[in-house]
Symmetry: C2
């Protein structure tokens, strides 16, 4: 399969353009073939309009049909074989093992959403049967379910070239809900995007769906991205990336004549609280676990723990020492792009240059990588809780292998730090049994700021399952009421519709008297699979 | 009980102020006693800060406790007796019968939410048990549920002085979720607001809750309202009112350093499609039903049908005649406020002055009301579908007793009109069996634009029940994914939190192994009430 470097507009191959770019191998800074052609304004307009035209057909398909489509995408992606992993590796320098794992996760996600829509109960069907004799007024027959919102624009993310990109979690959940998808490919891995995009296109054709169900757009975030968000037919947006870019998309969406929701996953420090008993019992183990977590994937995870809180003690000194030793001997590795590396260095240096912040350890630069300006050097720094509370800029995300150890004089200071935090994707507590018994107030504080609370574990590694929540109050995401990982992610792309007095044969299957889909439904407020 | 005219700040009575206003009897334009004192900036700040302080205590209360609180509010409101209905009548001139009915609905809503939180399953508990032996990596124990978001600001609405005001649907659902509430009282019925506010305050005290759980603020929307929305501790906003005011609140919320959701119910035309068979069978009955629906409460319902579509025929002429006759002989009645009346007249006149629009009938002005500038004159006008499609300004809400009959030359034009509509709270189809068989494409169009679809009924009269949806795509509401009426309204004020690896005793009761609350939970993706 040769890459053509063109957008995919509703099943057709896009046009060549004067505005081209190439992927870059971040390890060598070498430009990769082929040239990629940015979609024109006309093509972007066509892609969204054709998505809108395809929507009635696509949403009318049964859950079983949508499940087959999702499974066909997974099979097509697997069918690309090693070529996909190889290209993704060249474009990101993520390891082959990681990328193979990410492909498995991507296909697993698609199949999980297939099972969700095949089951069908996600539509939250509710039926209040008519009460014709009720006084003072009869009650009409009311039936409610979730329906898809319409065309969804998905932005590929740099750090998950497969699992949060062209056919990643946002796309899978939008398709599952019944929404056509227009993906804005990330410019750092356009070849990977094309390979996956062509796989989706084949699945669309194989399932007999209209081409408008899927388009892939090459272009910049500031022009193509904003044009997609502003298009009147776009109904919702999924995004994973920086706070600046996410907020720009939110503002573009909010200032439309008809505003639409943006689900942007943006920024998180993922604070880790190590309580005294845990530090006494397991300092070395926690240090090793934290090191592995904050340097995993060169620290390029939205769940990377970037802040660590403990009360100062002999054990915290030992912990800092263990962590520093691990960091000092850590390998440097290539970051995803030079922009990410520059941003990492700038953020890290901004933090470490604040008065009262000391760098405890940094790994040694590897010359051939450092020269290319792409190496992420694992770094750990420390400061006092007092200093942390006085400098809100220390609670700024440095996307990369950096963490800041904040040492409090006592438990009250530790609590004050927790209370001072903004919204987070995750928050973690390490504690032994006695620590945890006293940790209820801390837990209550963390429940208010975080979307996921981890005890005696690490936040990296996000399970894709019904109970997962990957979201959190602003600025972690733009809408902490929804998750972007796990089966509940489908709820982002649906809205309720209530039918009053509809004849049975006009109702969607999910709401028909006989319950032909066998859904668990709320009838008169009580869950049941019985017919009405 | 004498009205004191002061705000209620977290259980305490607010201060007197230099900025005062009085309620106005809309029938006589007479100012009513007492003077009402606007809350100061300091008081507004206190109210929200005390709500934030009360939040940890309030959210920690069990569902059973919150149910008792909601029931106590209902009992306290009923305990006010006729005084409440009398004051609400003086401030709004809504009929005593209507207001008594609205009180019953208000208390019914509070008790319905009590039953929802006593049952508890609304938290959508999900448990994915650990799989320690899973390859390639073990799965941690993951448990997810919905938790309250924090202090909620509720704006009292002018047209529902009880059911969507101080202790109305927004407040009831926010309390049910576990959120403290700060109400911005509507300036058109401050006395009603005070009476209900003091009832809520008594319930707060009787239930041993911190005073900060509830505050009532007198002041203007532009200053007090915006200050409440912009306050850093405010977590969400509920509003029912005009598109202009709603959009201003949305913009204030979106431009905060930390944006928050606004649930604004704003503007809807509630289109009604009368298909040929229905017109043939039931023209007179539909005309009578439509007349009753669009003039109910002087047309001051967000679900008032303001657009009626039919294919031109002998039957449509007869229908227009019947409707006109009813309108011509309709009584004028006092509207809620002079501002609403002025806005109604301006909107109605803007529509009827468009080329190609003809007024079919208007009721005769009643002199003593018309002179006071408060009368809403029921009016029906007509135009062609072609003209409607050429003039988007005809699809503008005139809040009051006005409806526009749009006549199409054929079914295709009728479909084109449906496709041209913006987001709506409701859409209605009248059809006989043959009409409905052919109405699937129309139904599919309406599903995309409306939150509730009514067949052979009228949209006014919104049931408060599990299957109700009172919401719709913009501009009907600011967030069509949520309802403001019915039990699902609670979902607006909650967000998911996932717990990973928490010991059983630290988990909320809803997620404990033994399932002590007896909830229906999703365990490994399967609904069950069994223990884990």
């Amino acid at each position: 399969m040769t890459l053509h470097g063109l957008s995919l507009i509703a099943g057709a191959t896009g046009r060549h353009s004067d505005n081209t770019f190439r992927a870059v191998d971040p390890a060598s800074n070498a430009k990769l073939d082929p040239e990629f052609h940015e979609a024109s304004e006309t093509e972007i307009d066509q892609a969204v309009n054709l998505a809108a035209s395809a929507f009635p057909t696509f949403r009318a398909r049964s859950g079983a049909d949508r499940a087959k489509f999702l499974e066909a995408i997974a099979a097509e992606i697997e069918g690309i074989g090693d070529l996909l992993i190889k290209r993704a590796h060249e474009e990101t320098r993520l390891s082959l093992t990681r990328l193979a794992g990410e492909r498995a996760r991507t296909c697993g996600q698609l199949r999980l959403f297939a099972s969700v829509v095949r089951d069908g109960s996600w539509v939250d069907a509710r039926i209040d049967p008519a009460q014709p004799d009720r006084q003072p007024q009869p009650r009409p027959d009311l039936r409610r379910m979730l329906l898809p919102v319409g065309p969804v624009v998905v932005f590929g993310s740099s750090n998950f070239p497969l699992a949060f990109s062209v056919a990643g979690g946002d796309t899978a959940s939008a398709f599952a809900a019944g929404c056509p998808v227009i993906v804005k490919a990330h410019r750092a891995h356009p070849g990977t995007a094309e390979l996956v995009g062509r796989a989706v296109k084949r699945a669309v054709a194989a399932c007999g769906l209209p081409g408008g169900v899927f388009s892939l757009i090459h272009g910049s975030g500031a022009t193509a991205g904003i044009a997609l968000v502003k298009h009147p037919e776009t109904a919702a947006v999924g995004f994973t990336g920086s706070l600046t870019a996410g907020r720009a998309l939110c503002e573009a969406a909010a200032s439309r004549p008809s505003p639409i929701p943006v689900f942007a996953e943006m920024s998180s420090l993922n604070p880790l609280f190590i309580l005294p008993g845990a530090l006494k019992d397991r300092a070395a183990e926690i240090a090793q676990g934290l090191f592995a977590s904050f340097t995993l994937g060169v620290g390029q995870f939205c769940t990377k723990p970037g802040l660590v809180f403990a009360v100062r003690s002999a054990e915290s000194d030992a912990f800092a020492q263990k962590l520093s030793d691990a960091v000092r001997h850590a390998p440097c590795a290539t970051m995803l792009t030079s922009a990410i590396r520059e941003s990492f260095v700038a953020s890290r240096d901004a933090i470490t240059s604040v008065d009262g912040v000391t760098v405890l350890a940094a790994s040694q630069p590897v010359e051939d990588i450092e020269d290319l300006g792409q190496a992420g050097r694992p770094t750990v720094a420390t400061t006092s809780a007092k200093n942390f509370l006085e400098h809100p800029e220390l609670a700024r995300e440095a996307f990369g292998p950096f963490t800041l150890l904040v040492l409090a004089d006592n438990a009250n200071e530790l609590s004050a730090c927790a209370s001072a935090l903004e919204g987070q994707l995750t928050a973690t507590i390490h504690g032994n049994a006695a620590d945890l018994t006293g940790a209820r107030p801390l837990l209550a504080t963390l429940e208010r700021i975080a979307g996921r609370i981890v005890v005696n574990g690490f936040p990296t590694g996000v399970e894709v399952s019904p109970a997962m929540n990957h979201g959190g109050p602003y600025p972690a995401t733009s809408d902490g009421r929804f998750t972007s990982v796990g089966t509940a992610a489908i709820l982002r792309f649906a809205r309720p519709v209530c039918y009053q007095g509809l004849p049975d044969d006009l109702l969607p299957d999910a709401l028909k008297n006989a319950n032909p889909l066998g859904l668990l439904r709320l009838v008169d407020g009580k869950p049941t699979r019985d017919a009405v």
